[in-house]
Symmetry: C2
Subunit: 190 residues, 2 copies
Amino acid sequence: MRETLLVKSIDLGKAYRLLYPKTVVIATVITEDGKPNAITLAWCMPLSAQPPLVSISIAPSRYSYQLLKQVPEFVINVPTTELLQTMWICGTVSGRTTDKLSLAKVTLEPSKRVRPPRIQGCAAYLECRVVNELETGDHVLFVGEVVHAEVDERLFDSKSARYNTKFYKPILQIGGPLFTTTSQELLRPR
Amino acid sequence: MRETLLVKSIDLGKAYRLLYPKTVVIATVITEDGKPNAITLAWCMPLSAQPPLVSISIAPSRYSYQLLKQVPEFVINVPTTELLQTMWICGTVSGRTTDKLSLAKVTLEPSKRVRPPRIQGCAAYLECRVVNELETGDHVLFVGEVVHAEVDERLFDSKSARYNTKFYKPILQIGGPLFTTTSQELLRPR
């Protein structure tokens, strides 16, 4: 076991980075008159199995925040490393001023139970309706009830409800423009 | 880009698994009379950079939930693969009935600004005070303000606020008793 002699204090404004790498997802949202937008997020996590609740956290300055307030529905699109460039553009360009979906070469297709469309070629989709929100400092946490979910069955075993990490390559953000994915290693506690 | 023909619907109660693998952390908490406990959690994420807020999500049935209601302070201990066995025991045995810290071979040391101690040998520590909580289905989300943070400087570059994934090996839960870690691969969008 490592000694902790080399541990040092860090700036609290960067403390969140100690919880990285984080899997990135792309949330799709829509305007009242049907114009879609997409935003890349690393702050996304489950909140409840039953009822099925998940959360995404968005800064109020973002265009997608504004759309979510208009139409309280979103899709969590789970990209793989094949969509690295798309993920990056959706996270760094604003849909308020730019047609980022074209720029990011996103192909949309209809969702099953919510208005925002989904992004073709992702590993999984969680279609959500906002049921609650919580202001937390510089972000707002949106609680979404999952009303429909789909996954690429080549990547996920439905029986054990687990990805096959031999094939599934999520995008994990290390920080800023640096990303990695999972190892092939399987670790099993005794 | 993959076609989505092979995408299939899944049971909504398992939808949260589509957001896995998730990095696991071990939260330490303490009773009013100073007895510590530890709980392994995969549902943990940042909520705000400034002020520094993070969240952990715990089911009300857990002993650590009860302790957190008594003493609203916790430490997020970020383990590496070296602590695989400790992590597993802290996540599967209840401190209500068992001396799980001994069983898990945990060595505790004092924290700097909160009462719950921290676990020696972890990569990072986020010392938190509960500032809010939100009931979300079968779990409760605790919002913690980070009042002190430390990291092993051999694993983390303070200037860029990024782990060096060549050395840092987080434990990522795939689901149930299966875990993996990050790849050595560095991915950079153009």
